[in-house]
């Protein structure tokens, strides 16, 4: 927890200019990323992926397969990194933990009545504790967007703080579900609330609502992290999730990260991609870099 005297007044409006933030974020896409920069970027992006399956139809078998993929992305290409984590529902944490044992790949679990967050606080806390007890290294919680939009910022703040406490040693990712907050000002405000309440990560989306992560929204959050860092000296990690399926877009995100927060954030401790299809697209690009030809999608496993 941060000492209360420096917590800002969340009733004050933040100032984000829509035109300006969109212009700035499009500027990152003008960077031309070639050769070794591209190769390093792709490797890093691969290593930052939270490989995700969050479906009602998920089974033990599906999760095990995904865990295998997390460690063995594409064995014909030697020297590939693993992904950063596997992201599953709490009921799958135990399976995933066992499958990933000794690999260094983290287990992240969504919790707090994901994706809607429409449950009472004690249920959310129990949901969180269940995931942590079964071995989750990271917890991805959702904020109560209804309360937030009603202006009940204290409620949202306290809830995040309570979940953080329930997490124990697990790192807490706070999902703002920016697609439901709509404006950049609200995204900024929710980011500030989450960080001051104890978030280790702030995360854009559940992936269940469209639009999910976009570059300008991620930039608003990165700038919030930057201001928080300058005020407190504490680093917060960032996770855009949903809608990042292509390597080129992932590289644009990395450029944005590098030019907003600098090189200290350029690792999977401080940045993640919440994505399921991105890994294969990066693998395709890496094989293209190596062999000079784009390979058929059937050469890459779908898990």
């Amino acid at each position: 927890m941060i000492s209360t005297k420096i917590i800002p007044d969340f009733l004050l409006p933040p100032h984000i200019d829509q035109v300006g933030i969109e212009e700035r974020s499009s500027r990152f896409t003008k960077r031309s990323i070639k050769n070794e920069t591209k190769l390093n970027g792709l490797m890093l992006a691969l290593n930052m992926i939270d490989l995700t399956t969050l479906e009602g139809k998920d089974t033990d078998g599906k999760v095990k397969q995904l865990c295998y993929k997390a460690i063995h992305l594409h064995d014909v290409y030697p020297g590939l990194p693993t992904v950063a984590a596997i992201c599953v529902y709490p009921s799958m944490v135990k399976i995933a933990k066992k499958a990933l044992e000794g690999s260094g790949v983290k287990v992240a679990s969504v919790a707090t009545a994901f994706p809607s967050g429409q449950a009472t606080r004690d249920i959310k806390i129990r949901d969180t504790k269940y995931a942590v007890q079964h071995g989750a290294d990271e917890v991805d919680m959702v904020i109560s967007r209804g309360k937030f939009l009603q202006g009940e910022y204290n409620y949202v703040f306290d809830e995040i703080a309570a979940i953080k406490e329930a997490c124990g040693k697990a790192r807490l990712k706070v999902i703002l579900e920016t697609g439901e907050l709509v404006t950049y000002d609200k995204v900024r405000k929710a980011s500030d609330i989450a960080m001051y309440a104890g978030a280790d990560f702030i995360k854009t989306s559940t992936g269940k609502i469209s639009p999910a992560a976009t570059m300008p929204i991620t930039l608003v959050m990165l700038e919030a992290i930057r201001d928080f860092y300058y005020k407190t000296g504490k680093k917060i990690a960032m996770k855009p999730a949903g809608g990042i399926g292509k390597s080129k877009l992932a590289l644009h995100y990395l450029v944005m990260l590098n030019e907003t927060l600098g090189e200290d954030w350029m690792s999977n401790e401080w940045f993640r991609f919440g994505a399921s299809s991105l890994a294969n697209d990066i693998l395709m690009q890496l094989m293209k870099q190596k062999t000079g030809i784009y390979q058929n999608a059937n050469y890459f496993s779908i898990d």
């Binding site: 990323i33 050769n35 407190t232």
Partner: protein, 493 residues
């Protein structure tokens, strides 16, 4: 347990930002001839002066080509060609036909956009990203826009009849060579005038490429004449008796000379001169976007922009935060080879200009201002200047009063609205200004009190052919762009 940290004890690290693998645009995609002649009466002709001068790439100091130097006899020939074309062809041509030629020029610029961008960058030193994404497309847009007006002048000036002025002598600067040529030629042609245009001696190549397009587009001979040379050639145009209008963009000093020279003559004039624009950040501004706007306002085109936001006023309550954000942003600017697609700040246009900028940096230090420059590595050859901020600046400092025309920003703080209005207006210039605030009423209060031709709110350096551009006070008179731009090239009857 995180605790409050003082701003100066922690710092983000951006060294890795500059480590992009090279991504150079190919020089081979553009053809530059070893020698260029004068474009008079639809043909490229050797100068009667028999003299040529060399033009160099300021990023490498290598010679690019030889350019003809027009003397008074050449100017006379060009004006005569323009007069004949005006009397015999262009004035009489149905307006819709004129429009077709202008549209054709616009399309051909688009078709050859890459070639134009490369040459603009090689000749002028500006980053390829800017010439590709700004200079060339905006130039084409200008021709498109005025082509549209060519047959609709009676709607632009309802219940009035318009007549062209005749022959326009146009002299343009080296900071946006192709774009300034477009700003001058497009409205002149649309209104039925013929032109003699002289690009700046450092950056003649894209204007000469434009001449090639004008030739290929079958524009009647003499309607557009492009002659090259330095100040003497320009003076010959200004003093020519058979020219009806002078359009000049450049320094205030030369603007004053021109104004003296045409005093007592029948020549009309539009002058777009220097500037020392104030960018004003209030505490309720979107700070990160304001910082970005300030960066683009002063470092766009290496600061070689007459409307550059070279003075920054920041409200005291957010002063330290804004300066810290500016410094961080400065560290992520890539200075280097203008042909590299990742370069943000290219080469200073000439050795002479670099000397002027360095002189002002020295003056700033002598005046006691605090300097901050980005820590980037600089190319060994060519003319480069680090992006530079000055804090602890006084209104009476020369770096806050005089146009530097380089990547140098003078930052001051202010407390109240009235104070900043007074300070912003306290300049000999009045070309542009910027206001950053989330509060609409405050913005309108300021925009009505700032004496500048263009005022941007929560943005900076935005240009559009539909929007008029021009200055107050020593920034000149007359407007270019939009409907206002038409009135500079017609008589209303």
């Amino acid at each position: 347990m995180a605790k409050l940290v003082k701003n100066n004890t922690i710092k983000l690290k951006f060294d890795s930002v500059k480590n992009f693998a090279p991504a150079p645009e190919s020089k081979k995609a553009a053809k530059i001839d070893p020698q260029y002649d004068l474009f008079i009466n639809g043909k490229f002709e050797r100068p009667m002066s028999k003299k040529y001068f060399s033009t160099i790439n300021p990023a490498t100091e290598e010679k690019l080509s030889m350019i003809a130097e027009a003397n008074t006899a050449d100017v006379n020939k060009a004006v005569k060609a323009a007069r004949t074309a005006y009397d015999k062809t262009w004035k009489k041509m149905p307006t819709a036909e004129r429009a077709k030629y202008i549209y054709r020029i616009a399309r051909m610029i688009q078709e050859r956009a890459r070639e134009f961008a490369i040459i603009e960058t090689l000749d002028g030193g500006k980053p390829i990203r800017e010439s590709r994404d700004f200079d060339v497309p905006t130039a084409a847009n200008h021709f498109f826009y005025y082509a549209g007006w060519a047959d609709k002048l009676e709607y632009a000036f309802p219940n009035r009849k318009t007549t062209p002025l005749g022959v326009a002598g146009q002299i343009i600067p080296w900071n946006f060579p192709l774009l300034m040529a477009a700003w001058k030629i497009a409205p002149a042609l649309a209104c039925g005038n013929t032109v003699v245009l002289k690009p700046a001696e450092n950056t003649s190549l894209t204007a000469l490429k434009l001449a090639e397009i004008i030739q290929e587009a079958d524009v009647p001979p003499g309607v557009v004449n492009i002659i090259t040379g330095a100040g003497v050639t320009g003076a010959a145009i200004v003093n020519h008796a058979d020219i009806n209008k002078i359009a000049f963009t450049g320094s205030t000093d030369v603007g004053k000379i021109i104004q003296r020279a045409i005093a007592g003559t029948n020549k009309k004039a539009t002058l777009e001169l220097g500037g020392k624009a104030a960018n004003i950040i209030f505490e309720d501004a979107p700070l990160d976007q304001a910082v970005e706007g300030v960066i683009n306002g002063i470092f766009f085109n290496q600061g070689h922009v007459c409307c550059a936001g070279s003075r920054l006023y920041v409200q005291e309550s957010v002063f330290n935060e804004v300066v810290r954000k500016l410094k961080d942003r400065l560290e992520t600017l890539i200075v280097g080879d203008p042909m590299d697609k990742n370069t943000d700040i290219g080469a200073i246009n000439s050795k002479a200009q670099l000397d002027i900028i360095n002189k002002y940096i020295k003056i700033g230090l002598q005046e006691g201002a605090e300097m901050y420059q980005s820590s980037c590595a600089m190319p060994k050859k060519g003319f480069y200047c680090r992006p530079t901020l000055f804090t602890n600046v006084a209104q009476s400092n020369r770096i806050a009063q005089e146009e530097i025309f380089g990547p140098v920003l003078a930052i001051q703080s202010f407390r109240t609205d009235d104070e900043v209005i007074e300070k912003a207006n306290n300049t000999a210039y009045g070309l542009s200004a910027g206001v950053w605030s989330d509060k609409g009423s405050k913005i309108f209060n300021l925009t009505s009190k700032l004496r500048a031709g263009v005022i941007w709110a929560n943005t900076f350096n935005k240009f559009d052919p539909t929007s008029p551009f021009g200055g107050y006070k020593e920034s000149g008179y007359g407007r270019e762009g939009g409907l206002h731009g038409l009135s500079a090239y017609i008589n209303l009857v």
